[in-house]
């Protein structure tokens, strides 16, 4: 544990934090631009050229808005709620492999903060804690609508977590490892997991929409029934944290989908080009971000295309469709492995 290594890790962590926040900030602009494109209108175009400064304007507005904490609320938990939501959203990026190692001055610098041997479970543990931010915030507001929104959100997240966890067992079985680094490395060339796990990917995709509380599963903040859902009583930057955490979650979900099913930083045929190690690593990272962008675009696209589910439809879909499909995927993968012979 020398100084260079420590500095590198600290700098990398700070970079990841900035990256997650930056991508999330520009996701809000991108979403509004895509919305306007789909609905045939202009969208935000006043602040800066093409509206490129809009996220800064939005953030500034949230900072300077009046801060209200309801007198009947539980103050400590009211403040803790958005903090938990934001921090659980941000810490997941630590285990995602962002690229092959860079070689600088004869040393290997991995583009991953922590190569845990249980990275997949780490992500699930953190995601399952994200629900506390919503529950605590909704309860501490001391408002019926907030509580209803919080209950909806938490039962939805627990239900979909199950199917989500089962959907990636197929990938884990094929790779034989819970480390995201191993999973990404095993998908070299065209051995992308999507080709052997299409059903697992479908279940994972639908569940990640529900886990991010995104359309069409955003019943927790269904304004027609619950005013604003769990964040009804929130204002100023605390509201901003809740809204922002959703976009950070979306970014991480997209990164997880790209890593688990679409080869992560792998680019087919990259090695045959004869690039140097560092250039190849950077090309791989660029490819990963391209894949992530496609998924983030998909999140936006779905939001402006599908209507919101009804609550009983949401639960029926989770428990009666996705859950059995995920089990079927595990059985199918087991059969395939048994026929192929274990390696």
């Amino acid at each position: 544990m020398d100084l260079v290594w420590l500095l590198y890790k600290v700098a990398f962590a700070a970079g990841l934090l900035g990256l997650s926040l930056g991508v999330a900030a520009y996701s809000t602009l991108g979403e509004r631009k895509v919305a306007s494109w789909i609905q045939d209108r202009f969208g935000p175009n006043r602040s800066g050229p093409m509206g490129i400064l809009q996220p800064l304007a939005d953030g500034g507005k949230l900072f300077f808005k009046e801060e209200l904490i309801p007198g009947v609320s539980n103050k400590f938990l009211f403040i803790l709620g958005p903090g938990i939501a934001m921090s659980t959203a941000l810490v997941t990026s630590a285990v995602i492999p962002w690229g092959r190692p860079l070689s600088i001055g004869g040393r290997e610098f991995p583009l991953q903060l922590a190569d845990l041997n249980i990275a997949v479970l780490y992500v699930f543990a953190v995601v399952s804690l994200g629900v506390y931010g919503i529950m605590i915030g909704g309860w501490a507001s001391n408002n019926k609508y907030s509580l209803m929104g919080a209950l909806r959100a938490s039962s939805q997240m627990i239900s979909y977590e199950l199917a989500m966890g089962l959907s990636i067992i197929g990938v884990v079985m094929l790779t034989g490892s819970l480390s995201l680094n191993d999973i990404a490395a095993a998908q070299k060339g065209w051995h992308w997991n999507i080709l052997v796990q299409p059903l697992g990917f479908l279940v994972f995709l639908v569940c990640s929409f529900a886990e991010c509380n995104r359309h069409p599963f955003d019943l927790a903040e269904c304004e027609a029934e619950l005013i604003g859902g769990f964040h009804t009583e929130y204002s100023s930057m605390k509201l901003g944290f809740y809204l922002f955490a959703e976009y950070v979650n979306m970014f991480i979900s997209a990164a997880m989908m790209a890593t688990l099913f679409f080869g992560g930083y792998q680019v087919p045929g990259l090695d045959s080009l004869g690039l140097s190690q560092n250039v190849a690593a950077l090309v791989g990272t660029a490819a990963l971000f391209l894949k992530i962008s496609v998924f983030i675009f998909f999140f936006w696209w779905v939001r402006w295309t599908l209507p919101r589910f009804r609550y009983d439809q949401l639960m029926a879909l989770g428990w009666k469709t996705l859950f059995p499909l995920a089990l079927l995927n595990i059985a199918w993968t087991g059969l395939y492995l048994a026929l192929r012979g274990f390696k």
């Binding site: 249980i118 699930f124 543990a125 804690l129 529950m135 605590i136 938490s154």
Partner: protein, 170 residues
């Protein structure tokens, strides 16, 4: 050095959180302190190089069971008036039962270090808690008990579904 600082820090947190679970007036606060205690236990698992156990502990206890607990407490809206009053006899019985459990646990742990030193998980280097080791132990050495307990879980699952199901025509 680093490990002992972490160990004592986590242990202090664990004890403080566990005490606050029973000393808090508000049931929601108790539940949240229990979540904090679970985190401290997960931290101990990580110190023993049992990352798999730590992750599963957080997912199952903090992520699922305690969320359902909180759920129930929030819906019941407990307060002072609805708090059940126990008689002195019940309190005394609880104290005796708890004390006896403590005696049994201390008795069991007192002899463990000498006899079972080879089985103990070791800080940093141990492999007892890794997913490979656990999988081999569960599916090779203890396959029958493992499958039997899974049947028990299945029975509980079916029971919960039957209890939760609405009667026809209701």
């Amino acid at each position: 050095m680093m490990s002992s600082i972490l160990f004592y820090g986590l242990s202090t947190l664990l004890f403080a959180a566990a005490l606050l679970v029973i000393l808090s007036r508000n049931p929601i606060h108790s539940a949240l302190w229990l979540v904090t205690a679970f985190f401290a236990v997960a931290g101990h698992y990580v110190l023993l190089n049992a990352q798999f156990l730590a992750a599963v502990h957080v997912i199952v206890y903090a992520g699922a069971i305690m969320v359902l607990f909180l759920f129930t407490i929030m819906l019941l809206n407990l307060n002072k008036e609805t708090e059940p009053q126990h008689s002195l006899l019940v309190k005394l019985a609880g104290l005796v039962a708890g004390g006896m459990l403590l005696v049994v646990m201390v008795g069991a742990l007192r002899r463990s270090s000498a006899e079972t030193a080879s089985d103990l998980a070791t800080v940093h280097s141990g492999t007892v808690g890794l997913v490979e080791t656990l999988g081999k132990v569960l599916f090779r050495d203890f396959l029958l008990p493992f499958e039997l307990s899974s049947i028990l879980f299945l029975a509980a699952l079916v029971g919960a579904v039957v209890l939760g199901k609405k009667e026809l025509g209701e």
